[in-house]
Structures are given as C-alpha cells and as structure tokens.
Amino acid sequence: MATQAPATAIIPQTAPRRLVLDVLHDWVTTVDHKKIGLMYIGYALIFLLIAGFEAILIRIQLAVPNNHFVSPQVFNQLFTMHGTTMVFFVGMPILFGFGNYLIPLMIGARDMAFPRLNAFSFWISAFGGLLLYFSYLGGSGLYGAGSAPDVGWWAYAPLTARVFSPGHSSDYWTISILLSGVGTIGTSLNIVATAICMRCRGMTLNRMPLLVWIYIVMSSLVFVTISPLTAAQIMLMLDRYAGSHFFDTQAGGSAVLWMHFFWIFGHPEVYVLVLPAFAFANEIIPVFSRKAIFGYPAMVAASVGIGFISLSVWAHHMFTIGMTSGANTFFVLATMAISVPTGIKIFNWLATLWGGKIHFTASMMFAIAFLFQFMVAGLTGIMLAVAPFDWQLSGSYFIVAHFHYVLVGAIVFMIFSAFYYWVPKMTGRMLNEKLGKWHFWLFLIGFHLTFDFMHIPGVLGMPRRIYTYEADRGWMLLNMIVSSGAFFQAVATLLFVYNMVWSYFKGPVAGPDPWDAWTLEWSTPSPPPAYNFVVTPTVESRRPLWDLKHPDDPDSHYE
C-alpha cells in the first residue's frame, strides 16, 4: 500500500519546525474533540493548583486558635474562591474534558456531534474562570472593585444584596457563574447528542460502555439543574441593578427563595460531579481485575435511578431553616432512598473484584481507595439524612468533612486514577508507576489526616466559615492535625504534576493498548490521529477488544 501512495503524500523525514504562533493558532481555532478535551483538562489543572493553594492558606490560618495569618476579609474571600473554583472551574471542566476526549473514541465516532458548539462551550467557560479571578485585580481604584467575592460559594441572599455587598465582587461571581453555566449546558447538549446519534455500527445502547451511559445521565442532570441556577443569577442581577426585590428581604423579598433555587442546582450538582467518577471506576476496575463488569444492566439502572432521585433531595441542605415537619420528613425519605442505587453500585464493583486477578497499578490503587472512601462518605451521608442529626451538624465541620470525603476522597481520587489510566492514550507516553505510587500513598495519608480528623471538631461544635476560634473550645489539636494533612496532599499533587511533565518528555512509549483493555479507544494509536479511526469500527458486544483477543470465547455469546 505505502509504495503505491502518490509522492505528494510522503511525509518528509523531518517535519518543518512550526512557529509558536502556528501552534497557538492551531489550538485556539481547533474544533477537534481531543484537543478541546485536553484544553479543558489543562485549564482545570491550573485552577486546581490555584484553589488548592487557597485551601493551604485556609488551613494555615486555622491551624492554631486566634491566628492573625490572614484578616477575616481575606479569609472569607479565600473560602468563597476555593469553593467556587473547585466546583465550577476544576470539577466540571476536568470531567467534561475526559468526557470530550473519551466519548467519541469509545463509541467509534470521529468527533462530537457539534464540534463548533464544543469549542464555543469551552472558551466561554474558560472566560468565566478568568473573569472570576480578574476580580482579584479588576480595575483597582474603583470603589468596591479589586477584591474577590466573599459571600461564600452558595452566596446566600440577602448577603449579596447591594446594601451588604456594595462593591462589584459579587457581580464578578454572578457573571462568571452565568458564563460557565452557558458553556456547561452547551457541552452537555453535545455529549447527549453525540452518544445518541454518533455510535458506530453494532453499538446498541445496550452495548455502550458504562462511561458513556453515565455521561448521558450526568449531562441530562445538567440541563435540569443549571437552568434554575442561571435564572437565580439573572434575578440577583435584577435585584442589584434594576430595583427588583426577589431576594431583597429589606423590601419583602425572600431569602429562602434563593436557597431553594441554589440547592435545586446544588445537590444534583454533587451527582454531576460524582457520576463521572463512577464512570471512570466502571472502566478502570474491570480492566485491572481482568473481569467484565458485574451486573451491567443493574449499573445502568442504578445510574439512571440516581439521576432521578437526586432531583428530589435538595432541601436536605435546608433542614435547619424551619421547614414544617412534613416537608422535613419527605426530604429525609428521598435522601435515604438515594443510598439504595448507590449501594448497588458499590456491591457491583465488589463483585467485579471478586474472583478476579487484581493488578495493583497506580491507577487501580486510586480506584480502590475511591471505593473505600466513597463508602464512608455514603455512610456519613445517611447519618446526615437523619434530620435531627443534621440539626446539630449542618453547617459544622462535620459537613465540611463529609462533602470533602465525596469531592476529594471519591472524585479527586478517581480523577487521579483516570489520569494514570488514560494519559498514555492522550500523550502516547506512560506515567511513571513508581512516582505514581509515591503520589498515591502521600495523598492517601494526607487525605485521611485532614478529612478523618475534620469530622470531630464538627461534633464538638465548630461551625464552618469561621476565620478563627478561641483556644478554650478544645478544637486546637484536631485543627493542627487537619492542617498538617493538607501539606501531604500538596506535596503529593506537586509530585503528580512533575510526573506529568516528566512523562510528556521522557516517559516510555505507551503503544495503542498498554493495559490490555477492551474498549474501542484502545484500538487506535496513542495519541489517536485527528480522525480517530482509519475505518469506523463495527462491534458485536460490550467489549469489542475482548472479542478480538479471545476469538474462541467472545463476549457476544453471552449477551
């Protein structure tokens, strides 16, 4: 074949060096789902480092009582920016990045359904993040500008009213969330359309990788939940600049209305973030156990079930606002009900491990830690679903520990696992396993020092969002331990960044299928060419590469 190719198609021995501007132009104007995915991931990693640094400052301030490391004003900005950044500009972009990169490859497509919408969504979200951080610098000299938002990441009304927040800091917050919301909806639309319409021949819904299934559920949740958030932001802007009184309690508005709007977004948002972590686990745990996923239909049903139930639990964030006993009881039941499908998932993962041959790669170690920590987070979640228990611990450090167990212990661990698993596909080079294990153990130790011990001051009465506390409350030693864990996590994260850079330049070449895996993305070269597949594949089962590798015993016989 190659000898018959026309002379013009022969690639020169040394490609001409491209100018920096050419490369930049290429990335800025790209509509390739892989490049956009990588940009999402890179952008999220930068914000991860920034928001992580903010967390370190918070922990230094709280390490000892009556500390004057930062002023209360700066502390309030730090926790607001940390929360907003981690949710909107780290969590969602990094998960969308992986989704963007992987979904077309996994379903045998050559790009997303709407490549230009994809680029638009990325750039508008990215602009939202830049705008949020511009608030630190923004137009110094103008009254109220030049300071970051300090209203907390859920920005309860009426603290955001102009009488309490006269400057422009909450406007930066509002507009950046609005913009990132537009981008988020665009990408979700794209993911659903791609998964429904772009699957290769033979890939029925019933054979679609679980990752793609879960991304459909997650994206559908985004439609339903980002809309009320966007509406609330517009109402807030009207309150602030057009004289309306939705949330203006001084003029008869309702503070509780904002809470409902925020949490009908805010709780499903947790599932928007954690479902992709489940998605990664569904791909990674089987490969390193060398077994097919246990109970594929149950896993799909559980994911869809979580999607629906998660829309009816939001007011468990509001058990303390004085709802009637009937309303409280309803949200207790809905919240407890969600533990059933989540439990099914954990049991299915355990059953997948059962009888396998478990390979302890760095990726798998992160996935196993995810499994354990997600179980603990789920159990403290059930405890908090018990409203009388929540009346005590809502708004305390117990809550902070609980949701960081989900966000870090489950989601961040699973994201690291996904990096060790898929980076060889993205760059064509392996990450260093030894460094990866150092990263794992340091991060694990740091995580447990920080978030295990953080539960206790909550039980002892320490509320969240306080910049300092008195020495006689008995919280000091615990806070010291919590803060020390933060440094382990910081060192581990820096090791990971070093590993990524090292791997990019010096990592061993990965080849198309380094893990002996079974889904379609491993059938193309690493990194995949712009068109993904030379010939669009045809599949006959859930694990097309297993069928190829085991022609004597293909999966298609069992479906």
Binding site: A255, S325, G343
Partner: protein, 297 residues
C-alpha cells in the same frame, strides 16, 4: 445511636469484604496460570435483587425512626409554664427581648433550668435584622436558622444549671466568626433575681456625670439604648445593664475596664470588620466614657 450502630455495622461488613477481596484475589506473578484471564462472570439477577431489597428494608426502618423524632421535636406541645424570648440576629451580635418581663438585653441569654417533672422550657422566636444567621448551642439543641422576613421557633430545656457556649452557625458577613453565644441556665431563684435586676432603670451614678455627658453628646446614642436616658438607638446592643454582663463584643472578650476601654477606642482591636466605628475620642473622654459604662450594673 441507632443510626451510628447501623452505619458502623455496614462499614464493618462492606469494608471487611473489600479487604478480603483485595487480599484473596490479588494478581500473583508466580501463579501457574498467571497469564490466563480469570473466569468471566457477567452478573446475577438473584444477587442484584438481594442487595437491592436488603438496603431498602434498612432505609425504611431508619426512615420511620427518624420521622418519629422529627414530629416529636417540631410538633411538641408548648406548656403554659414556658418562657417566651424573642431572638433577633444582627451583624454580628444577638438581641434578646423578654416580652412579658419587659427586658431587652444582648449576647448573654438567661433562662431558667427546666425540671423534667415541672418543665419550664424556653421558647425562642427568632428573626434577623439583616442577613441570615443561625442559633446554635450544641449542648442545648440543634441549630435553627435566623432568617430575615421569617419567624422560626426553637425550644430549649436545660436540666442542669450552668453556662452553655454556642455561636452563629450560618455565614453572615465579615465578622461571622466572633458572633458568639452564651446561654446561662439559672436556678429559679437566680433567674427571678436576674429578671428583677434587669427590670430596673439604668444606674445614675453622680461620680461619672462627665462620662455620661460625653456618651450622650456623641454618636453613641444613635445606636445604643440606655433605658431612662436620651440614648435610644436600636442599631447596637442595649447598654442599660452592660456592666452586669460577663463579656463584651458578643462574647469575644471578658468585660473588664481595660477591654472596654480598648474596644471603645477601636472595636477592630477585638473584632475587625464589626460595624461599630472607631469613635476617635480623645484620651480624657475615652476614660470618662469607660468609667460611665462600667457603672451600668
């Protein structure tokens, strides 16, 4: 305890299974069949059904127990002997009004102990003058949010006399951290004495007439009340019986003349971000006002 017991049991069972699986089924390089794939198992409807139904049963049980406590707490009948107190959250202090006793005070709540045989619980009706707050004294009750334009209620019935510490538990602005709460559960005699004392008008001590004059001629009176004088402001705490309180600045520091002096000089000394401005009094006036306020027993 039921909840803790069930969740701990689940933790032990599932965590134990995970550890067992990891040890039992780890990949062994020296195994004869090291290069063979393990048997592929795709699922089992019976097993799926069992680990769906059992959690549902646990959830139903937990839910019923929870619902019973919710109704028992929120819909408890109010006894006729209950004491009523109105709580108003401010940035960053607490105002307490005893409507039947005609008392207004701040930050330090006095309630009678409640003997289980003859309960005298205290019913708090709460609202906010500005942003959201939350009333939380962990050893007395769960927290209830204090929300503008909304009346929430909470009842407490301390059975042992003593001091119960708490603080605002809903982020309410810059100085949220030092919006502390002190609840004194008094014996019936102590409480009656306290009520009688608080109902007195402010002490008029002629030896501090100069300090009183300074107080009444500066902006102090636009925010603070001293009952029976021209000072009738309501933006800040009522100072009629300031000297009878153990702390100032919403529990931030003990109520000593030195602390009072430093606080009036510049409130940011103790509470940066609090809404009381530094009054820029000269040293002489500052001393006089401190002396005056220290006499308001």
């Amino acid at each position: 305890m039921l909840v803790l017991g069930i969740t701990s049991a689940i933790f032990l069972v599932v965590g134990g299974l995970l550890v067992y699986v990891l040890l039992r089924y780890r990949h062994r390089a020296n195994d004869v069949n090291a290069h063979q794939e393990p048997p592929q198992i795709y699922g089992s409807s019976q097993i799926e059904l069992s680990w769906t139904v059992i959690p549902i049963l646990i959830v139903v049980m937990l839910f019923l127990a929870t619902a019973r406590i919710i109704f028992a707490t929120e819909d408890a009948p109010k006894p006729a002997t209950a004491l009523d107190v109105t709580v108003i959250g401010h940035q960053f202090w607490w105002e307490y009004r005893y409507p039947k006793q005609g008392i207004v005070t701040a930050n330090e709540l006095h309630v009678p102990v409640s003997d289980p045989k003859h309960p005298t619980p205290t019913y708090l009706t709460m609202s906010s003058a500005d942003t959201n707050h939350s009333f939380w004294v962990p050893r007395l009750a769960g927290k209830v949010d204090v929300i503008p334009n909304r009346l929430n209620t909470l009842w407490i019935d301390p059975e042992a006399p003593g001091l119960y510490l708490g603080q605002c538990a809903q982020y309410c602005g810059t100085q949220h951290a030092l919006m502390l709460l002190r609840v004194y559960a008094d014996t019936p005699e102590q409480f009656a004495a306290w009520v009688a004392h608080q109902q007195q008008p402010a002490v008029e001590d002629p030896s501090v007439a100069e300090g009183r004059a300074v107080f009444q001629h500066t902006a102090c009176i636009s925010c603070h009340t001293v009952a029976g004088t021209v000072a009738t402001g309501t933006f800040g705490p009522d100072l009629t019986h300031l000297a009878s309180r153990d702390t100032i600045a919403s529990g931030a520091v003990p109520n000593t003349p030195a602390n009072l002096h430093a606080f009036i000089d510049n409130p940011a000394n103790f509470k940066p971000g609090c809404l009381m401005p530094a009054m820029h009094l000269n040293q002489h006036d500052l001393d006089a006002v401190t002396a005056y306020l220290s006499t308001l027993k």
